[in-house]
C-alpha cells in the first residue's frame, strides 16, 4: 500500500482531481451522467486514445517523439481491413496480427533512423509519416477499397462482455498492465528512464541504448497500428487520415499526466489520467454543443493552465 501511495505524485493528483471536477460539471449539466453506464462509455471512447498514448509515452520517456503515429494508425486500420479482403477467411483470422506487424515494421524503421543514423526523431518520424501516407494513398487508390472489417475487430471495438465492460477497455487495461510491468519491474524499464535522462551515461554503463530506442519506437508504432485496427472496427471501415485527430491529444495526454517532454520522468498512471481528462473534456464540450471555436480555445487554455501548476522547469542558473 505504501508503495502505491509513493507512486502517486502531484501531477497525478491534480489530473484526477480535475477529472473528478469535470465529472461533477457533467452531472450538473445532465443528471443522466451520474451513472456507471456513462463512465464506461467515456472509458470506451478513451481507450483508443489510451492505447495510442501508451506507445507515445514510451517514446517521450526516451526524450524523443513519434510524429508518424497518425498514418501508422491508418496503416493499422487499412491493413486489417485489407487482409480480410485479400485472404478471405484466413485473412479474417490474421487481420489483427498482420496489421500490428505492419505497425511493427514502421516502428523498427523509426528506431533504426533514430538509433543508428542519429537523425532527430521529430524530423525522421515526420518523414516516415509522409511515406506511410503515400503507401496508403497508393493502396486505396490502386485497389478497390476493402471495407471488410472482421467480426473480431468489431467485437473488440464495440461490444462488451464481462459485466458490461467494453472490450476495448479491457484491451487498454491489458496494454497498460504490460507497460507498467515493463517500466517498473524489468531492466528495460530502467534503461528507458536512464536513456531519457542521459543517454551517454547509460551507454557507458554498458547498456545497448540503440536496442532500447528501437524497442520503444517499435512498441509505439505497433500500439498505434493496434489502435487503428480497433478504430476501424468501431467505425466498420478504415478511412484516410483516420489517425490525424489522435497525435496532438496523445502528446497532450502524456504531458498532462506528468511525463516530462524532455524525457526521463513520468508515470503511466499519469498518462491514463491525461487520456481520461482529455476525453472527458472533449465529450463535455460537445454535449454543451459548444462551437468548435470555443472548444479549441478551452482545450488549449486547460493544457497551459494545468502545466503552469506542475510542469514548470527550473530557473536557468548555470
Amino acid at each position: 500500500m505504501q508503495r502505491i501511495l509513493k507512486y502517486i505524485d502531484l501531477p497525478i493528483l491534480i489530473v484526477f482531481g480535475f477529472i473528478f471536477i469535470l465529472w461533477l460539471a457533467a452531472v450538473a449539466l445532465d443528471a443522466s451522467f451520474f451513472s456507471v453506464g456513462y463512465l464506461l462509455q467515456q472509458l470506451q471512447t478513451a481507450s483508443f486514445l489510451g492505447i495510442i498514448a501508451s506507445g507515445a509515452m514510451l517514446v517521450i520517456l526516451l526524450g524523443h517523439i513519434d510524429l508518424s503515429i497518425p498514418w501508422v494508425v491508418t496503416v493499422g486500420g487499412m491493413m486489417a481491413t485489407a487482409a480480410a479482403g485479400w485472404w478471405g477467411d484466413a485473412g479474417a483470422v490474421i487481420a489483427l496480427p498482420f496489421a500490428m506487424l505492419c505497425g511493427l515494421i514502421f516502428g523498427i524503421v523509426n528506431g533504426l533512423g533514430v538509433a543508428y543514423l542519429r537523425i532527430p526523431s521529430m524530423i525522421f518520424t515526420l518523414g516516415v509519416n509522409a511515406v506511410a501516407q503515400g503507401l496508403m494513398v497508393l493502396h486505396t487508390g490502386g485497389f478497390a477499397p476493402q471495407d471488410h472489417t472482421t467480426e473480431l475487430m468489431h467485437w473488440l471495438a464495440v461490444k462488451r462482455s464481462l459485466w458490461d465492460i467494453p472490450n476495448v477497455l479491457i484491451v487498454w487495461l491489458f496494454v497498460g498492465a504490460v507497460i507498467v510491468f515493463m517500466l517498473r519491474r524489468t531492466p528495460l524499464g530502467r534503461y528507458i528512464y536512464a536513456v531519457g535522462n542521459r543517454e551517454s551515461a547509460t551507454y557507458l554503463s554498458g547498456v545497448s541504448t540503440r536496442g532500447v530506442l528501437i524497442t520503444c519506437f517499435a512498441l509505439c508504432s505497433t500500439l498505434a497500428a493496434l489502435a487503428g485496427v480497433l478504430l476501424a472496427g468501431y467505425s466498420t471501415k478504415a478511412y484516410q487520415a483516420m489517425g490525424d485527430p489522435y497525435l496532438l491529444p496523445a502528446i497532450a495526454a502524456v504531458v498532462l499526466g506528468g511525463t516530462n517532454i524532455l524525457g526521463g520522468r513520468g508515470k503511466y498512471l499519469g498518462t491514463v489520467g491525461g487520456v481520461i481528462l482529455i476525453t472527458l473534456l472533449q465529450s463535455i464540450l460537445s454535449v454543451m454543443q459548444m462551437e468548435e471555436a470555443y472548444r479549441q480555445v478551452i482545450y488549449g487554455v486547460v493544457i497551459i493552465g494545468m502545466l503552469l501548476v506542475y510542469g514548470r522547469s527550473a530557473k536557468v542558473q548555470s
Binding site: 524530423i123 515526420l126 511515406v131 503515400g134 503507401l135 502528446i251 468548435e292 487554455v301
Partner: protein
C-alpha cells in the same frame, strides 16, 4: 582567405538546402545541363521499353514570368512559415502553432482588408499586429511560465485555431481587389510580386535582426543557455523577440494567402500541413533542431526545394496516386542526408547530445 575558408566550413550545413533547391529548379524548368541530361535519359528509357504512348516523359515548364508566378505562391507561403519556424528553433525551441497563426491571420485579413486606402493600410497593420501578438504570447508563456515550447505551442495552436474558427466558421470574407491583384501580379511584368515581398522581408527584417545584439542573443541562447546566462546575455528578451518575430512572419504569410484566395478559411488540416512542413523545411535548410545554428535564408531554400520537388510529378507525368509516396520518400531521403556525419564520427560519445 583564411576567413573565407572558415566561413565555408562553418556554413557547410546550408549546402544541402541550396543544392537541393537548385536541383529542384533545374529539373522543374529543364535548365541545362540537368534538363538535357534528363531528356536524354527519358529517350533512352523509352527506347528500352517501347510502348504505344511513351512510358517515360519529361516535360519541364518554360522559365517564364507567368510560370514563375503560378509556382511562386505555394513556395513563398511555405518559405515564410519556415522562416517563422526558424526563429524559435534557433533558441532550441519549437513552435507548433505557426500553422495556426498563419490560418488565424488569414481569417483576420479577410475581415479587415477592405475600404479606403487608409483602411487598407490599417487593416494590414492590424493583421501584422495580431500575428506578432500571438507569437509574443507564445514567448511569454515559454519564458515566464518556464514551460517547454513544444507543449506550449501545441496548446496555443489550439487557441489560435479556435480564434480563427470563431472569426470564420465557414470560409468567406473578402479582400480589396486592387491590392490583391497587385500583390499576386508581376512587378514590371517580369518578377512575381511575392518574390519581391520575400526579398523585402529578408533584407529589411531578417538580416537586420540577425545582425542585432538581440538576434545574436537567440543564437547564444540556443547554443548554450547556461553559458549565455553567465555571460550576461538577455535570454528572456531574445526568446521573446524570436517568438514575436515568428508570429510576424506567419502574419505576412497569412496576408499573402488572403491575397491569393481572396477569402479567409479556418482549416485545421491546412494549419497542420504548414506546421509540419515548416519543420521539414527548416531542417533541410540547415538549421539545427538543437539550436544555436541556422538561418531563415536556409529555410527559404529548404521550403523552395520541398515545394518544387513536389511538383516534379507534373514534369514527369507521374500518376497522381504516386504523388504522396513520392513526396514522402523525397522528404525522408533529404532528411537522411543530414546523417552523413554519423559515419565520420570516430568517438561514439560524440553521437550523444
Amino acid at each position: 582567405m583564411r576567413s573565407l575558408k572558415l566561413w565555408a566550413a562553418a556554413n557547410n550545413a546550408y549546402f544541402l538546402g541550396v543544392g537541393l533547391c537548385l536541383l529542384a529548379f533545374a529539373v522543374y524548368f529543364g535548365l541545362p545541363p540537368i534538363g538535357a541530361l534528363l531528356s536524354a535519359m527519358m529517350d533512352g528509357l523509352n527506347a528500352l521499353f517501347p510502348a504505344d504512348l511513351p512510358l517515360f516523359t519529361y516535360s519541364p515548364l518554360p522559365f517564364t514570368p507567368n510560370v514563375l508566378n503560378t509556382a511562386a505562391p505555394k513556395a513563398v507561403l511555405l518559405a515564410l512559415v519556415a522562416m517563422a519556424q526558424t526563429l524559435p528553433v534557433l533558441t532550441r525551441g519549437l513552435d507548433l502553432s505557426v500553422g495556426a497563426i498563419f490560418v488565424m491571420t488569414n481569417c483576420i485579413a479577410s475581415v479587415v482588408i477592405s475600404g479606403t486606402p487608409v483602411d487598407l493600410a490599417i487593416g494590414v497593420l492590424i493583421v501584422l499586429f495580431c500575428g506578432t501578438l500571438a507569437g509574443l504570447l507564445n514567448g511569454l508563456v515559454v519564458v515566464f511560465g518556464r514551460l517547454q515550447p513544444i507543449i506550449v505551442t501545441l496548446a496555443t495552436g489550439a487557441i489560435y485555431l479556435g480564434i480563427a474558427l470563431g472569426i470564420r466558421p465557414i470560409p468567406g470574407g473578402g479582400v480589396d481587389k486592387e491590392l490583391s491583384s497587385f500583390m499576386t501580379g508581376l512587378l514590371w511584368g517580369q518578377v512575381p510580386m511575392v518574390l519581391v515581398l520575400l526579398l523585402f522581408v529578408v533584407l529589411f527584417i531578417w538580416i537586420p535582426f540577425r545582425r542585432s545584439v538581440i538576434g545574436r542573443g537567440c543564437y547564444a541562447t540556443g547554443s548554450a543557455e547556461g553559458a549565455a546566462f553567465l555571460s550576461g546575455v538577455e535570454i528572456a528578451n531574445s526568446k521573446l523577440a524570436a517568438y514575436a518575430l515568428s508570429g510576424l512572419f506567419c502574419a505576412i504569410a497569412g496576408l499573402v494567402q488572403t491575397f491569393y484566395t481572396q477569402s479567409g478559411e479556418a482549416s485545421p488540416p491546412s494549419a497542420g500541413f504548414y506546421t509540419l512542413n515548416s519543420i521539414a523545411a527548416v531542417v533541410i535548410g540547415g538549421t539545427s533542431l538543437f539550436g544555436g545554428f541556422g538561418s531563415a535564408i536556409g529555410s527559404i531554400f529548404g521550403a523552395f526545394s520541398l515545394r518544387t520537388i513536389v511538383d516534379w510529378l507534373f514534369v514527369f507525368e507521374l500518376p497522381p496516386l504516386w504523388q504522396p509516396l513520392f513526396n514522402g520518400i523525397i522528404l525522408l531521403l533529404a532528411v537522411c542526408l543530414g546523417a552523413a556525419r554519423v559515419f565520420r564520427v570516430r568517438n561514439r560519445l560524440e553521437l550523444f547530445t
